[in-house]
């Protein structure tokens, strides 16, 4: 697993790790059952505080994306696809519509937005 941190990003380092792990799972770079580096390994590779890595892993674990097995390591268990709750759907529907209203107000047209959506889905490698 390769994580590249961006010092110029707004996002705190731990959030950058969370996002990149999620992205790699979506793009099938990381598959279910794949082992993630240990906290110490990732911290020494990235030269960051071990607690920053722990925090990212805790967050990923809380969202059910990875799982730590005592004495064995941390593994990808994937994104749950089947059981999206109504609440989750509503949450994202709201987020998207707010974002869409803002971008339409700024003059970004529908076609461009649809292209973005297609781009993300094609990178994801799923039909």
């Amino acid at each position: 697993m390769i994580i590249v941190l961006d010092a110029r990003s707004h996002l705190p380092l731990w959030e950058q790790i969370v996002l990149q792990v999620k992205e790699q799972i979506l793009r099938n770079v990381l598959l279910n059952g794949d082992k993630l580096p240990s906290v110490r390994e990732l911290a020494t590779t990235l030269l960051i505080n071990p607690n920053t890595v722990s925090r990212a892993y805790q967050e990923l674990e809380r969202s059910g994306i990875i799982e730590t097995v005592r004495g064995k390591g941390t593994f990808v268990i994937g994104l749950t696809k089947e059981s999206v709750s109504e609440q989750t759907i509503l949450k994202y529907q709201n987020k998207f519509s707010n974002l869409l209203i803002e971008s339409l107000m700024e003059g970004i047209d529908e076609e461009l937005i649809i292209n973005w959506v297609k781009e993300v889905y094609s990178k994801k490698g799923v039909e």
Partner: protein, 292 residues
């Protein structure tokens, strides 16, 4: 826990440290930053007992190290120069460290020498990087629960520097060593620390985590048709970091939303948040006049 309690120290009648208090937990990394002459080295040397405090105490798990001297082997120190170690051979250094630190792990130390290809014998043929690495390995092999490092990455090539930082992270995370590092390399320091101490004129100006600081302050790039309005510039919680023509970079303390709204009402050409770094905080706290 290593507790520094109301520490004061004079050198030649000049008060160098004034009533300094902070704690260091095992397994965490604390950065000590401040201008040259702020008292960083004096503070570190007082903590490890090279200098004795005029007032206050240094406590390890509530035991005063001046009253119970055998607690001293719970603290190891790496000075900012290698003058101390370079007069000895590797073998002599091992003897010195074994005498000073009953928990010195000789086997692990010798393994590490092999791993980093550091030759036995005299240090005359050692480069600066090799001496620093050797010194760091000696310090971490003491088995001390707290390690104090004075500018450990100063003047190192990128490869040795990376190794030094990796060793620090590794010992903090796997051996639960509490590390206190003074450094001017703020970009690398910012990423490895749990908290930082800002020393200014002999007092601790601030003890905080980066997250606490980024919640209190934020950095903005703004541009106005007629330059930065003076009412904004004069606000007490606004520091102007730089100003060129229409564009200004500000560091602002306090409520972000509120301030963004105030600025938004003045029709800025550009209003963008930039990431706040440890270096920004350094300038914010002690960016005053330049002197050498």
């Amino acid at each position: 826990m290593l507790k520094i309690h109301q520490l004061s120290k004079k050198l030649d009648e000049t008060e160098i440290l004034k009533n300094i208090s902070f704690d260091i937990e095992q397994g965490t990394i604390t950065g000590l930053i401040g201008r040259n002459g702020a008292g960083k080295t004096t503070l570190l040397r007082t903590i490890v007992g090279i200098l004795s405090p005029d007032e206050g105490a240094i406590l390890i798990d509530n035991k005063d190290i001046t009253i119970e001297p055998n607690t001293r082997n719970q603290i190891a120190y790496m000075s900012d120069t290698t003058n101390f170690i370079k007069q000895f051979t590797v073998k002599e250094l091992i003897t010195i460290y074994e005498n000073a630190y009953p928990n010195f792990d000789k086997e692990k130390f010798l393994d590490a020498l092999n791993k980093y290809k550091l030759p036995h014998g005299s240090l005359r043929k050692y480069s600066k990087g090799m001496k620093t690495l050797l010194y760091l390995l000696l310090t971490f092999s003491t088995g001390a629960n707290y390690v104090i490092l004075d500018e450990p990455t100063n003047g190192l090539d990128p490869v040795v520097k990376r190794t030094v930082l990796q060793l620090i992270i590794e010992y903090a995370s796997t051996k639960s060593v509490g590390v206190l590092i003074s450094s001017h390399h703020l970009v690398e320091l910012e990423k490895i620390i749990d908290q930082y101490l800002f020393l200014k004129e002999g007092t601790i100006d601030n003890v905080a985590t980066m997250e606490e600081s980024t919640n209190k302050h934020f950095k903005l790039q703004v541009a106005f048709e007629n330059g930065l309005p003076s009412e904004i510039e004069e606000l007490e919680h606004v520091s102007v970091f730089s100003k060129t023509g229409k564009v200004a970079i500000l560091i602002v303390s306090g409520q972000k939303e509120e301030f963004m709204q105030t600025l938004g009402k003045r029709n800025p050409l550009l209003l963008e948040e930039l990431p706040l770094t440890l270096e920004d905080l350094f300038f914010l706290k002690d960016g005053g006049e330049l002197y050498v």
